[in-house]
């Protein structure tokens, strides 16, 4: 399953320097906007498990933006797959529902389209589409008990 | 514990201020935590009097009308200042005691403090490390100074020095080993005259 994710991630087209730069300059602002949108959703508690997890959801968006920024400037499929697995596992352990990622990633897709130039949106949106279509695989992978090497090492936050 | 006893337990022990007030701010009742915090029910007559630096600006009528929680600071009997978010609710069916003031601690205070303490702890531990490191270097330098103090046995004729291993060595070699000094050879005027003056 992980191999399939790695292969498909490796097929993602590299983001041009100009598109990466534009994304980078807007990343923080877009993360804040996505957090505002999700915080206003009436089904927020169902998505994140508990209202007290809102800080974690905001943190996630901030870190997600920085992480994608790093990926666009220097792509590494292994790191992308392992990190997403880590995020799914850790956030699910804290009570986040698997529907959170569908909701949050769709908010990101909308925000990217409205905030970025059409060229940059074209360049970066395949990465978000890849994340969205692969949600079931990430869920399945993190349903299982941790396998050695499945990103079990600690993560700073 | 039945539900009313549970509510009583909470109002007595949870860090929540719960006061029953008149519209002019006069205090009628308060929960046990508030009484402990403020030094008893009879310590103050008006809500405005328990506020710190708000006596002039706080307006009871505005507070009651406000839909947002108000961040107000009050001083405990120990003199500690603490911020609370206050909500004011009116209860029209109880004339005279018609305002409920409900204050809870400012959770952001704690997270701000937490972040600051983490930073301070990092700085402090880095300073401790630097200090210990410098201290060890100083002690090492002191040890060198101590080695050069005291009585050094020197040959009265050739000026060789007897070291710790009872070996006589050249003054230059001794200095090179025991100090950071660099030696540069020259000739003093007396030796110049003794060795180089042509008859």
């Amino acid at each position: 399953m992980k191999e399939r994710l790695l292969t498909s991630a490796q097929n993602l087209d590299k983001v041009s320097e100009a598109a990466g730069k534009e994304f980078s300059s807007r990343a923080g602002e877009m993360a804040a906007q996505c957090s505002r949108v999700i915080a206003d959703r009436p089904d927020l508690e169902q998505l994140i498990g508990d209202r007290k997890n809102l800080d974690m959801a905001v943190d996630n968006n901030r870190n997600f933006a920085r992480f994608m920024d790093a990926m666009f400037s220097d792509f590494n499929a292994d790191v992308l797959v392992e990190t997403v697995i880590w995020v799914f596992r850790t956030y699910r352990a804290h009570g986040f529902n698997t529907t959170y990622w569908a909701a949050n990633l769709n908010i990101w897709a909308d925000t990217l389209e409205s905030e970025l130039s059409p060229e940059t949106f074209q360049a970066v949106s395949p990465y978000y589409k890849w994340l969205i279509v692969n949600i079931p695989l990430f869920v399945k992978l993190t349903d299982l008990p941790a396998e050695p090497g499945d990103g079990e090492a600690g993560h700073a936050h | 514990m039945d539900s009313s006893a549970f509510v009583r337990y909470l109002t007595d022990h949870a860090p929540i201020l719960f006061l029953t007030l008149g519209r002019d701010g006069s205090i009628f009742r308060m929960n046990r935590y508030a009484a402990r915090f403020l030094g008893g029910e009879s310590a103050f007559r008006y809500f405005q009097d328990i506020l710190v630096n708000f006596n002039d600006s706080f307006d009871m009528a505005e507070a009651v009308d406000s839909e947002d929680a108000l961040l107000l600071s009050i001083a405990s009997t120990d003199g500690d200042l603490q911020s609370f978010y206050f909500h004011f609710l009116t209860q029209d069916d109880c004339p005279g005691t018609d305002v409920l003031a409900f204050g809870h601690t400012d959770a952001e205070d704690f997270s701000l403090m937490q972040g600051e303490i983490v930073n301070l702890n990092q700085q402090l531990s880095n300073m401790t490390r630097d200090l210990q490191k410098k201290n060890a270097k100083l002690e090492m330098a002191m040890e060198q100074v101590r080695q050069l103090q005291g009585i050094i046995p020197i040959c009265m004729h050739c000026h060789k020095i007897r070291n710790d291993q009872e070996i006589w060595e050249q003054l230059e070699a001794y200095l090179y080993e025991h100090t950071d000094a660099q030696l540069s050879h020259g000739i003093c005027p007396d030796c110049m005259e003794k060795y180089y003056t042509e008859d």
């Binding site: 920085r66 790093a70 600690g154 993560h155 | 983490v118 990092q122 531990s125 060890a136």
Partner: protein
Amino acid sequence: MLTETMYQDYLACLIKGDRTRCAETVTSLLDRRVEIKTLYLELFQKSLYDVGLMWEANKISVAREHLATAITESLLSLIYPELFAKEEKTRSVVISCAVNEFHQVGGKIVADFCEIHGWDAYFLGANTPMEQLLGFIDEVRPDLIGLSLSVYFNLPRLKKEIRAIQSNFSRTDLMVGGQAFALGGEKMLSSVANINYVPGLDELEGILAHG
């Protein structure tokens, strides 16, 4: 000498925030002449990893994790009188956290580990500005520079820092490590020349022995 029971007791105290009891464990181990290296590997590093995993599994809050880190940092100072022994250290190393890196305990453990192995190790803390780092390197002129990265998304900043160091001090060896690479990505450093990637303290020992 450091038994599993002692370790579990230490870990429980660390999470509870019982700094005094944790310090007692460390001093009693020091009194019994436990190898300093063992304290770093089997007590400090291991417990911090375990605490991290507990946060990930939602067994402790992030505040408890910060508390455990803060206590560990303060416990390191109990070792310093032994660590900075009065002996001449001929090789020096500067360890620093990258800009925007707010986690420093890993880097500090690395710096202390270098001291254990006879290096004069200077430590610059969390979020050290690049100018300050370059100025310090210029002042100390170390034989080795170590940069610690704990979050992967700071990699672009780290690379910028590496390029600045290499253009100013091209002859000084450079090593990079940290939790940021726990999920891979160390290959991304290969685009920057002459970098030693150090996955852990065991590998660091090899570098220090031959450095």
